[in-house]
């Protein structure tokens, strides 16, 4: 077992450990911290799989942006214990766990029965570099790239509108929305 294998196993276990903690902790803050471990471990796995640019983007986008967004919201809400909401009863959780184990088992059977390469081919030095990824993205996949820009625009608008507007309580009868959201205040 050489060093690469050792780090692959290490990061894999860290990723699974972090993922497990994320879904089992009661408090969202602990979940977010476990998610940080998970993102770091995934970044390491990507580095070992010859994707240095993606490993960097993983740290910057997930750990740097998405996780910080989660932390902002968690701190903004600052949930007290009684506001955390209930959890499902343990038989249901056990059932969900069994279902997910079955899902993993099916996927594992499919993976292990397929004819997949076990030795990694040699790669050129430019594989996974920002230049190679950028060249592919702006030539062959430029349409997908442009569509993603539209998606991000829509998400930005949606987030701004949702964060601004005061949703009507459902008990009130359904009246057409006033022309200005601030009209009742």
């Amino acid at each position: 077992m050489n060093l690469r294998d050792f780090f692959f196993v290490l990061f894999s276990f860290l990723a699974v450990f972090g993922a497990f903690l994320t879904v089992t902790r009661r408090s969202p803050m602990y979940s977010a911290m476990s998610l940080l471990v998970f993102f770091g471990a995934i970044s390491g796995v990507m580095m070992i799989l010859a994707a240095p640019f993606l490993a960097l983007m993983q740290m910057m986008v997930y750990a740097g942006a998405i996780l910080v967004l989660f932390l902002f919201v968690i701190m903004l809400l600052s949930l007290r214990k009684e506001e955390l909401g209930g959890e499902r009863p343990w038989p249901l959780q056990l059932l969900a766990g069994c279902g997910c184990a079955v899902l993993f088992g099916l996927l594992a059977v499919a993976i292990l029965r397929a004819e997949l390469p076990r030795t990694a081919p040699a790669l050129g030095p430019e594989f996974g570099s920002p230049e190679a990824v950028g060249r592919a993205m702006f030539s062959e996949y430029v349409l997908a790239f442009e569509i993603v820009s539209v998606l991000i625009l829509a998400a930005t608008l949606g987030a701004v509108v949702l964060a601004k507007k005061h949703l009507e309580p459902p008990a009130a009868e359904e009246t057409p929305a006033p022309p200005h959201g601030e009209a009742h205040h």
Partner: protein, 104 residues
């Protein structure tokens, strides 16, 4: 040790963990984090396939897909958290079972 089946098993395990989080938890924030887990599990599969089927001339399609997935994940997190914030402002809860009126 670093074989394609092993990488895919890791990916499947992470995905299944994310599914468990979405199904079994009721806190909306943790459900959103579980969705991130699932997306990351899929990203591992993309990177592994790019490593073992590199294609020609260093043009890794899998890497491009991972970048697109990251953009979708960021958009999903932003909109999801905005919904959770708006909901919490009105109802003082993050319990997904209470979010029944979102259908209208």
């Amino acid at each position: 040790m670093i074989t394609l089946p092993n990488c895919l098993l890791l990916s499947a395990l992470l995905f299944a963990t994310g599914v468990f989080g979405v199904v079994a938890r009721r806190n909306a924030l943790i459900v959103l984090m579980s969705v991130e887990l699932m997306l990351n599990g899929v990203n591992v599969a993309f990177v592994a396939f790019a490593r073992f089927y590199p294609g020609g001339a260093g043009a890794p399609a899998g890497h491009v897909f991972v970048l697109l997935t990251m953009a979708v994940a960021a958009a999903e997190a932003a909109v999801g958290l905005a919904i959770v914030l708006a909901w919490f402002r009105n109802r003082k809860t993050t319990d997904t079972d209470e979010m029944r009126t979102m259908r209208w």
